[in-house]
Structure formats: structure tokens, C-alpha cells
Amino acid sequence: MIKGNFIIKLRILLWAGLALIVFLLFYFAVIPGGRIGYKTDFQDNNFFIRKLNPPERIAQPNEGESKIIGNPVYFYLRTPRRFNIAEMTIKYKTNGNLPIIEAGVLADKNTWKYAIKPVENNIIGRLLPAWSVINEDGHALFQREKKFNTLNDFLNNFPARSEVAVYNYGKPLPDNFIISSYDNSEARETKLDYPLIGSWEFYTYIKNEELDFSFDFLDLNKENGEDPINLYLYYKGKAIDKKNYSDDGIFWPAGEIKEKGLLKFKLADLPEGIYKIELKAGNDIITKSIATKQKIISFANKINLAKSGDIVGNKNTAINIFTDSRILNFQSVNPSGLQKIKIENDGIDIANTYEQYQYKTASATSEIILEKDGLTISGDGVFSFTRENLINPEITKVNENFVLENNPVNYILADYNQPKEEDGWKIAKINFDLTGAYREFNKYTFLISIPGLDPVDEIDDYVKIKEIRFDLEGTSLLEKIKKLRIKN
């Protein structure tokens, strides 16, 4: 006979074990302390840090390493709850000439904007032994020849903008962009009627005049989901006005083109200076036209020209675009956008849809002549429809196209730490602010960008990743309860 005592003891033991497992599962879901770490070596499927994608940009995993051969690659970080800060530690090795490696977290899904942070910048890395460096509170000032002793000294005696370059520098600079020759006393309304797809941002200049913009929008309703329109006006990096339209109520791809009407910015008594207007919208939103009394409109980094035939009837007229970008990228997703493009005295043939074509120019300003629209042009500078309207208020960035030789830049401001080396592996730590990051289905989307890595070229260049670790920090349970009590 088995004693009843034994059965009760066994039952208590087993059910207590299950209760403990359930408690631990809830504990790791709530994370009451607000801190947790996840890591992967990519050997197995990790629930929290998913595999790098797309597979065609990754060589077969070898001895637990993920070898990146194309740019960019993406991965998800799955978390049971929201966090405020993420410290990403990446252990990697590089082969080949890769000037810059960056990582980013998706901040806005509509515009596919990533908050990018540096992993390794070899252009700055090469300066370290030769240039004088001042490090203050995580900010670094590199000087070709030592002239300033502190960062404040430099900011208070800010040199000519042509002498300064920045990299991942988040703080506003004292530099005030003024065009002394600017005159718009005979202002008259002009209309830019080149339909533009989705998001864009452009610079304009105001001097003793009213800021007057009128935007005409269409909703194509071709893609799933809502199509909100958000327009922002920025001055010195701060949003000073905002206009928006909510969705027209058609969330499904009905293909029914709807006029959204006009959105206007009309502001008087603005101080002289450069202003930026940004549209945040999905690819269903078309900016049919922009009417303005301002003289200058310079688009930053990208012009995405819609196929006008779908929207305002076929134009089939040549379009002249001016840019200060040294590296230009062209892409058409529409067969009607395929064409031969003239750039200065040269040209490029856009022969296939979805293929990205690159053109390098040495000119400070280039003229691009398009046969027709239906094409995306991007670069590291600004774009304008007239040469005299081309202004670039941005201070030079130390990106992959930055060349130090024969460059007037004498000072570089950067928030950057060179990765450490351990057993032949480089270790970089990157901090991300997750409060503004986009999170869907409990996942944050991350990107690793390595400009120059091409899986189809014959160069044996790659980045081997040994390990990625995330240390996450968020609100603790106690803090949450305290906040709720204060609210009530």
C-alpha cells in the first residue's frame, strides 16, 4: 500500500514546480525591474533577436557567424514589453574597404526612417592618430591643427561653415545660415506641378516676407492601411507649425483616386533664415502641386517623381533638375519611367525597373535632364528645379563619400567612439532611444547599413557578426505604479 502522505507530498511538489514555472514566465514577461538582456550568436533560431535578412545578403552561417555580404540587412528584436533605452553590443570582424558601418532602429514606418547610429567610421578612425582630439561628455572635436582647447571655445568661436563637418552630432550648432545676396522683393506666386510620391522635405528661405505655401494632395488608395498626411514646418531644428489630414476612410487597396484638397502654411513676421518643410506620408499620397511665393525650394536628399500620366495627364516633357550631390542614385519601379538621363555632358541609361543605377560626378553642381517623370532620384545633397534656387544649408557630413584630401574641412564634430578590439574581434556599443521607435507585433526593426557592400560584385568584402547583445532598460513596475498613483 502506498501511503496517502506520499501522494500528497508528490502532488505538492509537482504543482509547486508548475506554479514556479508560470510565475517565472510572467516575471520575464513583465520584467518588474525594468532591465533585461538578450543575446544571440546566430547559431540557432533566437526568439528575441531574429535572423538577419534578406537571405541573399547573408552568406551561409559558418561556425556560428553571420556573414553580411550585401547592404543593408535587417533584423527584428522581439520584446515582451516596451523599453526606453537599448544598448546594442555588436561583436564583428570586417574584410575589405568598408568606410562606414552603421546601425539603426525604425522610427517611422510610413517614411521608413531609421534612427541611425555609428558602429564604425574608418574615415574618423584614420584621423585619430593625426588630428588633435577633444572629448567632452561623449562629444568629440577633431582639429586638423589644434586651435581650440575646449568644445565650448569652438562653439563660441564657430569657424566658417566650409571648414566644419559633422558626424552623428545631435546638438544644434551656433551656425546661422544667411544668404546675404538674397532678394525676394518682387515676390510672385509660382507653381511646382511635378507630382511627387510620398514623403519629402525641402528647404526654403525667408527674409522680410510672408511664408506662403499651398500644397495640393491626392490619395491613390493603392496600398493597404491608412494614409494620413502630416506636414511640419521647422526653424533651427524645431517644429514651429504643423498641418495634417486624417485618412479618407479607405483602408483597403481600392485604387480609387481621391482629391484631398489643399493644405496651407501662411505665416508672417518670421525671422530671416532657412526653414524646412517636411511631409510625412505613405506612397499612396501624391503631392500634385506646390504653390508658393517663396523664391527657394531645395529638396533634401531625394525627389520621387510620380508618373504624371496617372494623375494629371501625360506630360512627356523634359524635366531639368539641379543638384550638389556627388553620388546620384536613380530607380524606377514603373516601366514608363525607364529612360536615358543626361547629366552634364554624360548620361546614364535606366534600362530595368527596380534596379538602382548610380552615377558619380565631380561637379559641385550638376544638371540632370530627364526625358520624363516616374523616377526616384536620390543623393547626399539637395535637388532643385532651377539652378539659382539650389541651396544646401546642411553642414558637410562625414559619410561614405567624404574625402579628406583637398577638402577645406579643418574641424569635425562627432558623437562617436571607436570600437574596441578583443581576440581579433571588434566590439562596438551603440545606444538607441526606443521611446520614439516604431514597434509592431511586439517587435522593433533594426538595420545594419554597410555602404559599399554588394553581393554581386567580385570583391571579397564582408562583415562577419559573432554576437549581438541587447541590454534593455525601461520603466520598472514600481515606477509604473507610482506614475499611476500620481495620475489618479
Binding site: I2, L14, W15, G17, L18, V22, L25, F47, R78, P80
Partner: protein, 64 residues
Amino acid sequence: MPFINEKFTIICKEIFYVLTGALLIFSIMEIAFSGIVSAYININYVLIFWIFFAILILVNNDKN
């Protein structure tokens, strides 16, 4: 060896009951909060153990 056999059957039954409870609780938890269990435990393995103990109990019952 009737005593060992009896003790073994009781242990098997108790484990089977706990595994039944675990399957039920884990399923409800997973439906309510996606990923809460599957992040750490593969429920398929729990199901395999549950079937294994069910077979053991049935074989033992047949012998008796």
C-alpha cells in the same frame, strides 16, 4: 514487484495530471499574451511528455 509497479503508476498519473494542467495553462497564457510561453518553452515537448506518460499509464493499467 507489485509495490514498485503501484508506486510507479501513481507517479506517472501525478505527472500526467500536472502536464495536463501545464498544457492547459500554457495554451491559455499563449493565447492571451502571444510569446509569453513560447519564448522559453516549446509547448510541443510538453505535449510529447504528456502523450508519453499517458501511454505509460495505459500500458500499466493493461498489465494490472
